[in-house]
């Protein structure tokens, strides 16, 4: 019997704005490419603007690297690999990586503010999640550099050479750390391309790498667009490609390296199920749902974007969820009260809005809380869709925004089937009080990361990566090392 549902009350939360200061950050007007330990101008002479998605103001100009620049970077990386980095004892490599971690920690607040300005994510998240995790990632992998023989029993430890790394815009600094730290620890050198909408923290990281005295050419940062990334993928002297981004681009990369000896890891899209059973602690589960889909504006590859609620509690969960959504602050990412910041770019906002339209057209019932949205900048209110069919596009395709679909289920077997019925397999969440059921589900859900009674937790020691079309290879933890070893 469904209980009578309380009416939605909209509590009025009125906080005074609490803006993080931007006075202590240093941004240049124009950034060149970081190649061979020097800042060099792009061959093309072209620069592009990176804007703050929260107010559409230009933050800086950034070099557009082309194939010639990539070639320069690869040559520098190869030279550094042959002459310095591959010969250096692991214990010495470790010290450099520790230095990077320490210097980042010292400038953590500056990184957090720049990340928020460039990516639109809330200061709370960049300060408490992105930046500390990025620092810790370097610290964690630094310690591996002289212990690799212990990681994989009976296996000869050999680095690969030059790694080409292409990272996305949703966790710009963190993704740079995920890529660079294990590559360096295992003795490889790096050519990294940040996403075009969020290049600034990678460039600040280059400053720190410079300050740490890393031998020239060990880390090279080449900014640019998709063409720059393609030049990295196609370069004949690169031994490994590590890519995080959409499944669409991941497929292009897998195809491009076919027939070459390049080693590849792909961390791609997802459409992860978050499953709530009737014995779950409902209030905690509702927090988990909110964190699962609205964390980082839903720009999370492992976002819990498909909610499955057991039928007998669906009404109550949806009611509580709507109530909770009414209290979410959408607005200036620099404000410490803000829960949902700016959508990363105009293009991404258009994509999200396209899917919201599709959802309505497909007949799903939409809910968005009443909230005020800044007039300038790219924003999207938290959105949920009820009565969604399994075949619906919004339940099948990755939206990469704060949009949640809700479906119900009756039995364990039914929800396992529904949850697995997607080409993706990145993550899943399970909420129940029953231990045996948790293990039943966690073994049967075909996904690389399972959060039981929690969601969207990350740690340098914890391997991350997908099944099926969510890609292959793992990043993080001991297992993340193997992506950079022969």
């Amino acid at each position: 019997m469904a209980k009578k549902v309380e009416k939605i009350e909209v509590p009025s939360w009125d906080y005074a704005p609490s803006l993080e200061s931007t006075s202590h950050i240093e941004l240049k007007e124009r950034y060149d490419l970081y190649i061979d330990g020097k800042w060099v101008k792009p061959t093309s002479g072209k620069y592009f603007a990176t804007v703050n998605p929260a107010n559409e103001q230009k933050l800086a100009e950034v070099a557009h690297g082309n194939a010639l620049d990539v070639d320069k970077a690869v040559k520098a990386a190869r030279k550094a690999y042959n002459e310095v980095w591959s010969k250096m004892p692991g214990s010495e490599r470790a010290k450099y990586i520790y230095r990077i971690a320490r210097l980042m920690q010292e400038r953590a607040r500056e990184f957090a503010v720049i990340e928020t300005l460039d990516a639109g994510k809330t200061i709370r998240e960049s300060r408490d999640v992105d930046v500390p995790l990025a620092c810790n990632h370097f610290f964690y992998y630094a310690g591996w550099a002289d212990k690799l023989e212990y990681a994989f029993p009976n296996r000869k430890i050999e680095s690969l050479g030059v790694a080409g790394q292409i990272i996305p815009w949703n966790f710009p600094l963190l993704m740079a750390a995920w890529k660079i730290a294990p590559a360096l620890a295992t003795g490889n050198t790096v050519v990294l391309k940040p996403a075009e909408t969020t290049p600034l923290t990678a460039l600040k990281l280059a400053e720190i790498i410079d300050e740490a005295g890393l031998p020239p050419g060990v880390v090279n940062i080449v900014t640019g667009y998709g063409d720059t990334g393609a030049s990295i993928v196609d370069h004949a002297d690169i031994d490994k490609i590590a890519f995080t981004g959409s499944t669409g681009v991941g497929k292009l990369i897998q195809k491009a390296v076919a027939g070459t000896p390049k080693k590849v890891t792909l961390e791609l899209g997802g459409k992860s199920a978050n499953i709530i059973f009737d014995d779950a602690p409902i209030d905690q589960a509702v927090e988990g749902i909110v964190n699962g889909i609205f964390f980082n504006q839903g720009h999370v590859c492992c976002a819990g974007s498909r909610l499955f609620v057991q039928e007998n509690i669906a009404e109550r969960v949806v009611q509580k969820l709507k109530q909770r959504m009414e209290t979410l602050y959408v607005g200036n990412p620099l404000d410490k009260n803000t829960d949902i910041g700016a959508i990363n770019s105009k293009e991404q906002l258009a994509t999200i809005n396209k899917y919201i339209k599709i959802g309505q057209k497909e007949g799903a019932e939409m809910y968005q809380p009443v909230c005020s949205i800044p007039s300038k900048g790219y924003y999207c209110p938290p959105t949920l869709f009820l009565n969604v069919a399994q075949s619906s596009l919004i339940a099948q395709e990755e939206i990469f925004g704060p949009v949640l679909t809700i479906q119900t289920f009756r039995t364990v077997d039914e929800v396992i089937q529904k949850a697995n019925n997607t080409p993706f397999g990145l993550a899943a969440g399970v909420w129940t009080d029953k231990g045996s059921r948790i293990f039943n589900l966690t073994t049967k859900l075909r996904a690389g990361v399972i959060w039981a009674n929690t969601y969207n937790k990350f740690d340098p020691t914890s391997p991350f990566g997908g099944y099926k079309e969510s890609g292959f290879g793992r990043e993080g933890g001991l297992h993340g090392l193997s992506a950079y070893l022969k």
Partner: protein, 293 residues
């Protein structure tokens, strides 16, 4: 009058049964002197799809068997092969392998199956991890099978290459379809008879004969196959397999080894067709004075 020998019909092995190719086609296998020794099924694309379907159907049951049980079944395969030692030696000789070499090949194949049988309940112990995360969570990573694997058996051996690439795949709980060596297909089908009598559930291993060239595209672009193990040496076919694999982001693993050598078997060949799964769960925070027991 001398007794007339009963000749064996070499058929396919799909879903635990021995059907002929649905296409009705065959090719004549000849010995080194050019004398025909058998008619071999020339599998069609439809046979590949049937085999993939059988493998998918068997995946749940096989992957959910206890690791110990999988080990016992693999060991049983070795027992069955040992019992048919002479038959395999004769078949290898019929396909042009010298006697001494043939004996060695069968012996190594048997020992290799025992080797992987032993790994079934050990690889996860060696390579899984409890990850010490900096929050109040219990976090661990374990390996799980990738799913359905398409295997292109090595071309230059009839038995040992096949066994070497197949065993790590099923030891890890995957199911598979195997394309046998084109020029030396006899042992593959006879090995299917060994599998058939080893308590291995039908559909876990499906064996097809035919040409790589004709079937590679269907196999590598099939949307319900999760990984490809390529044991051949044709770089053009490999490239097209890698390109087709993009359709559903198949993992493509190239296995090129001298299968007679002892170091051509190892733990990491099992891991090649595994996925690592990481699970998080909160730890109730007891905290305070009571935590110093």
């Amino acid at each position: 009058m001398a007794r007339i020998e009963i000749l064996k019909t070499y058929k396919l092995f799909i879903g635990g049964q021995f059907p002929r190719t649905e296409s009705g086609r065959f090719y004549a296998l000849k010995n080194t002197k050019g004398t025909p020794i058998a008619n071999i099924c020339l599998s069609s694309r439809k046979d590949v799809r049937n085999a993939a379907q059988a493998a998918r159907k068997a995946f749940g049951g096989w992957s959910e068997k206890t690791a110990f049980n999988r080990g016992q079944i693999l060991y049983r395969i070795a027992e069955m092969l040992e019992g048919r030692r002479d038959q395999f030696i004769a078949e290898l000789q019929a396909q042009g392998v010298g006697k001494a070499k043939a004996e060695k090949e069968v012996e190594i194949a048997i020992d290799r199956i025992v080797y992987y049988a032993g790994w079934c309940d050990k690889y996860n112990q060696v390579l899984s991890a409890v990850n010490p995360v900096s929050s109040s969570h219990f976090n661990f990573s374990v390996y799980e099978p990738t799913g359905v694997v398409g295997i292109f058996a090595p071309q230059n051996t009839s038995l040992l290459g096949l066994v070497s690439v197949l065993m790590p795949v099923i030891a890890g709980g995957n199911t598979c379809l195997v394309l046998a060596s084109e020029n030396m297909p006899l042992c593959a089908i006879t090995f299917a008879e060994v599998l058939h009598s080893s308590d291995l559930p039908g559909g876990v291993v499906n064996i097809l004969t035919g040409t790589n060239k004709e079937l590679a595209d269907t196999l590598s672009s099939h949307m319900d196959i999760n990984a490809i193990v390529y044991g051949g040496e044709d770089s053009e076919i490999l490239k097209s397999i890698q390109e087709n694999a993009v359709s559903n982001i198949k993992r493509v693993i190239v296995q090129k080894k001298d299968w007679v050598k002892p170091d051509s078997q190892d733990l990491y060949m099992i891991i090649d067709t595994q996925e690592l799964k990481t699970t998080w769960h909160p730890i109730e925070n007891i905290g305070g004075a009571t935590s110093s027991y």
